[in-house]
């Protein structure tokens, strides 16, 4: 297990480096500097600014400077939000995104696994068809369509829930964003769980369990759930990425001051250091969480350790 874990960690490092280098290159290959669209500055002022932000150095040197800053947790200054460093901006915004994403993921797992298991146990019945129909719809309809439609009906027309972020406090303001973000994942996890649960329930050891006189609830809980969860676990990586992507839209629609909103603003304002910083931060987060999933997978299913 230790060997497997170490190998996984070693494997994650080149991925991370590749991502950072790619993002860095893309940002620096962009035509025009971050200060270009303001009034034309005198040449010496421009040179001073370039020197202050080290933009006059050769690219490899800039990259090394960035990397050494990164290792010390320094993502550089923001070009637009003067007086703030990128790390400070991420620090204020990330807690909102984290709460939103974690709640959505928890909800998706809880409802998705439950719905999928129920559908698998009632395979072929009307209930199964309803769950599967709902889940196909949930997979197909994008977050940015679900979100405004839910706001329109639940918040604007029926006024059951708060529509916006500002002006409300407490958990109720998280309700609609979390549901929106979780819906497609609930749908996907339900499909995965159903398929793998059907597969597992047809195995011999389940028949043996039934033959021993165990009830359906015990068989599912004790014997079937763990092997049936493996495909769901390996979907966690893409699910995390999807939730992060989705939260960009959800934050934008509900006006949540999270990282996704900063990212879009940064992109529109050409705040390169902020955009780069957020990409690097998110990519590291995804690589780290994927690593965690991999290690967890190895712990649950010993077979993958020796492939």
């Amino acid at each position: 297990m230790l060997r497997y874990t170490l190998l996984r960690i070693l494997g994650a490092i080149p991925t991370l480096l590749l991502v950072i280098a790619l993002a860095f290159l893309m940002v620096h290959a962009a035509p025009g500097g971050p200060f270009d669209d303001e009034r034309a500055l005198p040449a010496d002022v421009e040179a001073n600014i370039a020197a202050a932000y080290h933009l006059d150095e050769p690219l490899p040197q800039q990259f090394l400077r960035y990397m050494s800053g990164l290792l010390q947790g320094d993502l550089g200054p923001s070009y637009r939000y003067r007086d703030y460093t990128v790390a400070e901006l991420i620090g204020t915004a990330f807690p909102y995104s984290l709460k939103l994403g974690a709640l959505a993921m928890a909800l998706a797992l809880l409802l998705g696994v439950t719905a999928g298991t129920v559908a698998a146990l009632r395979q072929g019945t009307a209930l199964d068809k309803v769950v599967m129909g709902f889940s196909m719809t949930g997979i197909s309809i994008p977050v940015f369509v679900i979100a405004p439609v839910l706001v329109l009906f639940l918040a604007v027309k029926l006024q059951w829930l708060p529509a916006g972020w500002s002006g409300t406090t407490g958990m109720s303001r998280y309700l609609l964003p979390v549901i929106t973000l979780a819906l497609p994942q609930i749908a996907y996890i339900a499909r995965l769980t159903r398929a793998s649960m059907i597969d597992v329930l047809s195995r011999d050891f389940i028949r043996t369990a039934y033959a021993q006189g165990l009830g359906t609830a015990t068989v599912v809980r004790v014997h079937a759930l763990k092997p049936a969860m493996l495909p769901v676990l390996s979907y966690m990586g893409p699910a995390i990425a999807a939730i992060l992507t989705g939260s960009v839209v959800v934050e934008e629609i509900f006006g949540i001051p999270g990282l996704g909103q900063f990212f879009v603003r940064g992109a529109l304002n050409r705040d390169y250091t902020l955009v780069l910083g957020i990409v690097v931060f998110y990519a590291s987060l995804i690589v780290f969480l994927n690593l965690l999933v991999d290690i967890l997978y190895g712990a649950i299913d010993p077979r993958v350790r020796y492939r």
Binding site: P14, T15, L18, V19, L22, A23, M26, V27, A29, A30, P31, M136, T137, I139, S140, I141, P142, F144, V145, P148, V149, V151, L152, V156, A195, G237, P238, A241, L244, T245, V248, V249, E252, I253, F263, V264, A267, L268, R270, V275, L276, I278, V279, Y282, A283, I286, V287, N290
Partner: protein
């Protein structure tokens, strides 16, 4: 049989939508860019031929929606073709050559899977002005991973089959084996995955347009229309609901079509 029916129904709906998008703007008396500030955000009505109402600049939403469908479908199809070419080539090489090269190529795909691609596309859009061609290529370039994996797996198993062995024994050249014996057996699975890539490409395009990073005014796409609709949903809910419904319908149809085709080509794995 039910798979067959779902293919026919969804393909029929998609065809109808595509024809409406092609013919609609041509029949309507309005065009997509003419503004009319005296008739903004009007409700859908037959009397003035604004079938879907007008937007905040008084432009006809029916024509704009049809135009949006055209752009959305076009982007999706071109992007899927890009991903098809990259994915099939990559997967076929890895699968056919096998061994170390295969392992290295697939490890690279695994690495790419872990990346938050959408952030890179946004970065790309910011860095290099938003041009139409780039959207196609960018979306295609991020959607080839599934295709590569599927094609590689299929090629790997085909390579070991008796008929390929037989061809090799009778002295058929490698190139000819690939094109004559292996490629035809890949068609089914490739068709299925192209169908399933199209909705993904649509999603990415509308996602970008929704954030204001995609297609530029006065051109439009379904994502851009949904974005515009959100801004006026309290007074003019139709401007949100119509493009949102159409987008959802198109995505749903492509997903069902892909599912139906998968059942059709591969009877052993009914979903």
């Amino acid at each position: 049989m039910s798979g067959n029916r779902s293919i026919r129904v969804t393909a029929g709906i998609l065809l109808a939508v595509a024809i409406a998008a092609l013919v609609g703007p041509w029949i309507s008396p309005h065009d997509y860019a003419t503004t009319n500030l005296e008739n903004t955000l009007s409700a859908p009505a037959l009397s003035n031929m604004h079938l879907f109402g007008t937007d905040d600049l008084g432009r006809d939403l029916f024509v704009r929606t049809m135009l949006g469908i055209r752009v959305t479908l076009l982007v999706a199809i071109v992007a899927s073709l890009v991903s098809l070419v990259i994915g099939v080539t990559y997967g076929a090489i890895a699968g056919f050559v096998g061994g170390r090269l295969d392992a290295a190529m697939m490890r690279f795909v695994d690495t790419l899977y872990a990346l938050p691609f959408i952030f890179f596309v946004i970065l790309l859009m910011v860095a290099f002005e938003r041009n139409f061609l780039l959207i196609f290529v960018a979306i295609g370039a991020i959607n080839w991973l599934d295709m590569a994996r599927i094609v590689r797996g299929q090629t790997l198993s085909l390579r070991e089959r008796e008929f390929v062995e037989a061809a090799r024994l009778t002295g058929v050249s490698t190139l000819r084996i690939v094109f004559r014996h292996i490629a035809p057996n890949l068609v089914g699975i490739v068709v299925v995955y192209v169908t399933l890539t199209i909705p993904q490409a649509i999603l990415v395009e509308s996602f970008l347009s929704f954030l204001g990073l995609g297609i530029q005014e006065p051109q439009t796409s379904l994502g851009a229309l949904v974005d515009a609709g959100v801004k006026h949903m309290e007074g003019a809910s139709w401007s949100l609901l119509i493009p949102a419904t159409l987008l959802a319908l198109i995505l749903l149809c492509f997903n069902f079509l892909g599912d139906g085709l998968r059942d059709f080509f591969d009877a052993r794995h009914p979903s």
